[in-house]
């Protein structure tokens, strides 16, 4: 499958920044992930053709990094940090709550393709633990009522076809 024109333009725009073509591979795969919500074998072939790299090189990189998904994920990717500081502050409780509400286990996607629950490694938000990352956005100091609010909001945004968890504003005062 050929890559979209937009992705090709983005990658061509940064070619001059790097001394090698292979350096463009991770930015390219991240763009594909962002556009398609996963990195399919066809996209990998597209990436290999575009950068003139062997498919095996593309595949070995795509399979190494956690953010590159080799299967489609939901429109809303609920990522719970379950590392030590978040765990000490009740991350497992949030996870259990989301699993119950959405009816899927961690690592699974709901049948309607809306939600995926996943574990994410330490998000450097230990001082404001526990943290949930919804697509690109961080939500810190989360408890069960706040999590439910976030899920309600996501449901509304999905129903109205608004993007979820991709706010562009600069965060306020932190911590």
């Amino acid at each position: 499958m050929a890559l979209s024109q937009q992705i090709q333009n983005t990658i061509n725009g940064i070619r001059g920044d790097f001394p090698t073509t292979q350096a463009l591979l991770i930015p390219l795969l991240l763009e594909i992930q962002e556009e398609q919500n996963w990195v399919s074998t066809e996209s990998m072939q597209g990436a290999a053709d575009f950068l003139q790299l062997p498919l095996s090189k593309v595949r070995e990189v795509a399979s190494f990094y956690t953010m590159l998904k080799l299967e489609p994920i939901g429109k809303v990717n609920l990522q719970f940090c379950v590392n030590i500081s978040c765990w000490l502050n009740g991350a497992e409780k949030l996870m259990a709550c989301a699993e119950k509400r959405l009816g899927v286990h961690c690592g699974e996607t709901t049948k309607d393709g809306k939600y995926t629950i996943s574990e994410v490694e330490c998000l450097a938000s230990c001082g404001t633990a526990p943290v949930v990352q919804i697509n690109q956005d961080y939500y810190e100091n989360i408890d069960v009522p706040k999590l439910n609010e976030l899920l309600d909001q996501a449901e509304k945004d999905l129903a109205q076809n608004r993007p979820v968890g991709k706010s562009t504003q600069v965060p306020g005062v932190w911590p």
Binding site: I26, P27, M67, L88, A96, A124, A129
Partner: protein, 446 residues
């Protein structure tokens, strides 16, 4: 109780709670923004390296290597086999992911120009014209903020061609990671920067000889770069005076877990671990400390009676642990140590890159053994096996990841052996006692 500012001048975090502190305007008006760069560009590169050496600044990423020394390893005029000159690269390690550490994210969000200015000065010091900032892919907002700061600096003439009319060119490129803890290791980071799997490289050759794209490169942490403008502005002696003999300056300690006021605190290294925890409001009210991890998840843990140790690199090393990346994690008496260490081991099991057998298999074995003990299937031989496996891991692999896995595993068995023995004797962790299970149950009822 004193605040952090009463202990030491807030070199890095003085303004982080003010609105718009991430903008160029704010930085120029309130923090002598880019004055250090102006001064540094009139200095000879070797003089900057000497100044940083004098400041006793040590790398803030975890290993604590003297920064000036690292810069001085860069070859002066590298050439390839045909005699053509080779470019040199400065690389910023912004792949913060050590559980318990959240200082670089604070610096990038709140004062990105400090890091960028420090990095331009560093480029001048090693005579490089290009810097790469490797940021974790998960940090979508931080990437946007740093990119905006780079654009602002470029528009103001602090980056790009002929900076401030001195003829010095410098450009800065952000490279996004894609989710791998191991890319915080400098040679894994370099591989990832080249668009490859983030697997650490065998050293030598060191990055100063063969680094990014085969060229001489120098990798430093965000906090390290952020300290450089102060050193140039106020002088190495003043910066060094905040620290101790072999380690200058202030440090950012990230205090998290069971404390009243978790957060990032800028403190002198002369303080003890107990004092650092007290600045963060102490252990949560009504509880007592059981264990403390003093420098991020990879560091061996300390018991409550061992926390009067000084927080500098050497004192912590003497106490059998590490100062690491400054992530202080406090665990109170409600925590079952075996369960807590299992949480850490699960992380390592997932993040081992898989290159070295000892680490790939060892981290899995350890996690599975801890799980078995928690589930009631353990026996006392297991504890000796933990030591045996750890002995086969530490120091036997390409990078220090395996050593990091053994830190919490070995220290917990050594210092909290009775908790393991209790679980083994009593058939595992009672379903109502463990933090995970009780939380999970609570969650399922809401």
């Amino acid at each position: 109780m004193k605040t952090a500012a009463e202990y030491v001048e807030q070199v890095l975090t003085k303004h982080v709670n003010e609105p718009n502190c991430h903008t160029l305007d704010f930085y120029v008006k309130n923090e002598k923004g880019y004055e250090a760069l102006r001064k540094a560009l009139t200095m000879k590169p070797s003089d900057i390296v000497d100044e940083v050496k004098k400041s006793n600044l040590r790398g803030r990423g975890g290993a604590g290597f003297p920064t000036g020394m690292k810069w001085s390893f860069m070859p002066a005029k590298p050439v390839d086999a045909n005699g053509n000159s080779k470019p040199k690269y400065m690389v910023c390690n912004a792949d913060e992911g050590e559980p318990g550490t959240f200082k670089d994210r604070l610096l990038m969000t709140k004062t990105p120009h400090k890091m960028i200015e420090g990095m331009i000065i560093a480029c001048h010091a090693i005579e490089s014209n290009k810097g790469f900032i490797y940021i974790r892919g998960e940090f979508h907002k931080e990437i946007r903020i740093v990119q905006k700061a780079i654009d602002e600096a470029k528009a103001a003439g602090f980056l790009g061609k002929n900076i401030m009319g001195t003829g010095f060119d410098c450009e800065m490129i952000i490279y996004k990671g894609a989710g791998a803890y191991i890319c915080g290791e400098e040679t894994a980071l370099l591989n990832s920067l080249e668009g490859k799997r983030g697997e650490p490289r065998l050293k030598p050759p060191f990055p100063a000889q063969v680094g990014a794209y085969g060229m001489p490169s120098c990798v430093n942490n965000v906090e390290t770069f952020a300290a450089v403008p102060y050193i140039i502005n106020e002088g190495a002696e003043k910066y060094a005076s905040f620290g101790i003999e072999k380690a200058g300056g202030t440090r950012l300690y990230c205090v998290s877990g069971h404390v009243n006021k978790p957060g990032v605190y800028e403190l002198p290294m002369t303080m003890t671990l107990r004092e650092v925890i007290e600045v963060a409001g102490g252990v949560r009210t009504g509880h007592t400390i059981k264990a403390v991890i003093p420098g991020g998840a990879s560091c061996p843990m300390l018991r409550a009676d061992e926390i009067d140790v000084k927080m500098d690199y050497d004192s912590l090393a003497k106490a059998g642990t590490m100062s690491g990346s400054g992530g202080v994690i406090v665990l109170d008496e409600t925590v079952n140590i075996v369960e807590a260490v299992y949480v850490l081991l699960k992380f390592y099991e997932h993040e081992s890159c898989g290159q070295c057998t000892q680490c790939r298999e060892g981290s899995h074995w350890l996690a599975r053994m801890f799980k078995r003990i928690l589930d009631g299937g353990g026996n006392t031989d297991d504890l000796d096996y933990v030591a045996k496996i750890c002995g086969n891991m530490a120091g036997q692999t390409i990078c220090a990841f395996a050593d990091a896995v053994t830190g919490p595993a070995l220290s917990s068995v050594k210092k909290f052996r009775s908790e393991f023995e209790d679980l083994i004797r009593n058939g595992g962790l009672h379903p109502d006692k463990g933090m995970a299970s009780s939380h999970a149950k609570e969650g399922a009822h809401v």
